[in-house]
């Protein structure tokens, strides 16, 4: 058979029946993901409803400050126009069906289509977060595996300290520190996502390059504590695997060094690591809005902040939280499928 057992699954899946079984598994997972999203949407939507004051009041109150007089009848008319007089479940259902089509209605205050408002911003945020996740694991995988295998006390203790520092120093403090040093030593702040000339420009290669030039800092800052977490996960899982009998048994068969490390414990620790990716993304999303605020980025995180802090725009806030959660659910779905492909134990339980 194959060396890494990665080609094997595809050989095994070659059978028609197996393919069908696997498709059924994927479908079940997809349904579960959708159910999770529906549940989340219910939670988010309920929260947005519990908020004192609805969208109509908010909009008109805003107009009121602009000088035009508002009557109670105006609010009622606005409610009817927005469909807020319909029962809760109906509104939730229509919000949900819109959300799955990518249509989140209009913002309460700005009166712009939310999908348009978010557009690129959401995707840029997502790519920045995925970038930091990738960075985190690119560092954590080799370092974690090697440190778990090494008996060097100094290396292990310093790694432990670094990862604790990563846990204890929240990203926004790190961002502040970076700002502090960059202003002291370079006299400039490394903020924003685009140079001024590209901010409003349509997408082009030059704009993309400009984005990359600016994006490394948020990616690094967001990746910082993600790396610390990932390092801990990888190390703990690896230490567990290395202590297992099958590793000793493999050593007793004459396998040693890197071959032993990567083929045995590392390969078997991979499953749980893949499993934890979704929660790592969750953690990064947690840090995003605040880091965005400090670095004055203009993406979804800061838009969320703006929506909440300045204008209590529940429609926009709900849409952003829903989208962030949807990204996590999608990643979880992808890792479930990946796990089934790489881990024969999961795969065989599906193909039964």
């Amino acid at each position: 058979m194959t060396e890494w057992g990665v080609r094997a699954p595809f050989q095994l899946l070659a059978g028609n029946k197996d393919m069908l079984q696997f498709a059924r598994f994927a479908a079940t997972r997809a349904v579960m993901a959708v159910v999770t999203l529906v549940l989340v949407s219910l939670i988010v939507f309920t929260l947005m409803e519990l908020v004192p004051g609805d969208c109509a009041e908010r909009y008109l109150a805003y107009k009121n400050t602009q000088g035009s007089a508002i009557t109670l009848a105006d609010i009622e008319a606005e409610r009817a126009r927005l469909g807020l007089d319909r029962p809760f479940l109906t509104r939730w259902a229509s919000w949900l069906s819109g959300a799955f089509r990518g249509d989140f209605g209009e913002s309460c205050i700005l009166r712009v289509n939310i999908a348009q408002l978010l557009g690129d911003k959401f995707w840029i945020s997502l790519w920045i977060c995925l970038g930091s996740l990738t960075l985190a694991y690119m560092i954590a995988l080799p370092v974690g595996i090697i440190s778990a295998a090494s008996k060097n006390a100094f290396l292990n203790n310093s790694l432990r300290l670094i990862s604790y520092l990563g846990l204890a120093m929240p990203n926004f403090l790190l961002a502040l520190m970076v700002m502090l040093f960059s202003t002291i030593y370079f006299g400039e702040t490394l903020t924003g996502l685009f140079s001024p000339e590209y901010r409003e420009a349509p997408w082009s290669w030059a704009k993309f390059v400009d984005l990359l030039k600016h994006a490394w800092l948020p990616i690094f800052i967001l990746g910082w504590s993600a790396t610390a977490f990932a390092l801990q996960t990888v190390r703990a899982l690896m230490s567990d695997e290395i202590g297992k009998l099958y590793v000793t048994a493999a050593a007793a068969r004459g396998i040693y060094g890197r071959r032993l490390l990567w083929r045995y414990p590392a390969r078997h620790a991979l499953g749980p690591i893949v499993n934890s990716l979704g929660f790592d993304l969750n953690r990064i999303f947690n840090e995003l809005p605040i880091v965005a605020l400090i670095l004055t980025l203009t993406e979804a995180g800061s838009l969320l902040l703006e929506a909440l802090a300045r204008s209590n725009d529940q429609q926009l806030a709900g849409a952003i939280i829903f989208l962030l959660t949807a990204a996590i659910v999608t990643l979880n779905f992808a890792t479930d499928i990946l796990l089934a492909v790489i881990d024969p134990r999961v795969r065989k339980s599906i193909l039964r």
């Binding site: 929260l47 604790y164 230490s239 969750n282 909440l308 529940q314 996590i328």
Partner: protein, 380 residues
């Protein structure tokens, strides 16, 4: 057998003590062996004590009431023992006069009068306070015979950063404890129900828990906190924010409670106890609970810093606690301004305290986890 020496009897006693030690004693014995965790525990105790006795330890009231209006955005002042006029046993400060005018380009310029000494006093009476919220007092550990002392400098309103930091540590401890307790009670109920009943109820609860867990918590905090009416008082705000932190934090804990319950319930020692005729209440109280209280305590210690960090983050963006409540987040609100970044670096001193606090908790939690796990030593 008869010829046992006294050391052997001592040995025997030590062994007996080891074998009959309670779980708590065993955990403590193992915990003591970990140097890093012990250092962290010491730091933690010091921080908790300084938070508890913040009103006494800090020289001034941390709110606007205790401000030094002649020393806004003032640099830290370190008391000294010697100057060109000789040394003194009592630490002292020099008198500083500050001026800001057109001549100085509207920046504060300080003039130090090296001949005028202000001496430090101990156990002075000053701003009145309520220790632990109810013991009134006005004695402070230290103060000056005249003027003010600001170990960590002052902020833009002239509030003493040292005093604020100590009070903020106390706030964080309160928020953390309350938040953890709230989410723990929720977790115990929800996870307990899921773990106890199992089956369909368990599946449904698990599904909901997982769904809640998927939602990124800080954006969710922000969404909820943003809608707290601004006219609420600082104290109400404090409780509501803590409540929110607790309400959003339960799923992870609930999951762990459930897992503990499910695995422990099926352990053979539970069956053994049942076969011995122990009633359900006895099994739960004497066997199930002790089997995982240590793990739950560890979970609580580990989740503590996340509550503290969430509060800090929320307050930092202005959605959490507000003045006059002191918390790190509140204190850091203004530091992104270029002015602060360039000129007033002492604004960042409290950050060190918080890193120390969080790290101490993480290390202690880790040490406790290792100590509570009887197999941790074999792994290492």
């Amino acid at each position: 057998m008869s010829a046992k020496t006294s050391t052997k009897i001592d040995d025997q006693k030590a062994k007996e003590a080891y074998f009959t030690a309670s779980q708590r004693q065993l955990i403590w014995a193992r915990f003591k062996k970990q140097r890093a965790a012990m250092i962290a525990a010491t730091v933690l105790v010091v921080l908790i004590l300084s938070g508890l006795f913040a009103p006494f330890l800090s020289p001034y009231d941390p709110t606007v009431a205790g401000r030094d209006k002649d020393y806004l955005n003032g640099a830290p002042q370190i008391p000294k023992f010697c100057d060109k006029n000789g040394c003194s046993i009592r630490p002292f400060l020099h008198t500083v006069t500050r001026e800001r005018s057109l001549a100085t380009n509207f920046r504060w310029v300080e003039k130090i009068n090296e001949d005028e000494r202000r001496y430090m006093q101990f156990f002075v009476s000053g701003d009145s306070y309520k220790l632990f919220g109810f013991i009134p007092g006005n004695i402070h550990l230290f103060g000056m015979d005249q003027g003010y002392v600001h170990l960590f400098g002052t902020d833009s309103a002239g509030k003493d950063i040292f005093s604020r930091t100590l009070h903020a540590v106390w706030t964080s401890l309160q928020v953390g404890t309350l938040g953890v307790v709230i989410s723990f009670v929720l977790a115990l109920i929800i996870g307990g129900v899921a773990g106890y009943y199992g089956g369909a109820i368990d599946s449904v609860i698990q599904m909901i828990t997982d769904a809640v867990r998927t939602v990124p918590s800080i954006p969710l905090f922000m969404a909820i906190a943003a809608f707290i009416p601004p006219e609420w008082s600082a104290e109400t705000r404090f409780f509501v924010i803590t409540l929110i932190l607790g309400l959003v934090g339960w799923p992870t804990l609930a999951r762990r409670v459930r897992t503990h319950l499910l695995t422990e319930r099926n352990q053979e020692y539970v069956l053994a106890a049942q076969l011995c005729g122990a009633p359900a209440g006895h099994v739960i109280r004497r066997h199930l609970l002790p089997s995982f209280t240590s793990y739950i305590i560890v979970d609580l210690v580990i989740s503590f810093p996340y509550v503290v960090l969430s509060e800090t983050a929320l307050s930092f963006i202005g959605l959490g606690l507000k003045d006059p409540v002191n918390s790190l987040g509140v204190m850091l609100q203004n530091v992104t301004k270029a002015d602060v970044l360039l000129n007033y670096h002492w604004y960042f001193i409290p950050v060190l305290f918080f890193i120390a606090l969080v790290m101490a908790f993480v290390f202690v939690g880790d040490g406790l986890r290792d100590a509570a796990d009887p197999y941790s030593e074999t792994r290492k």
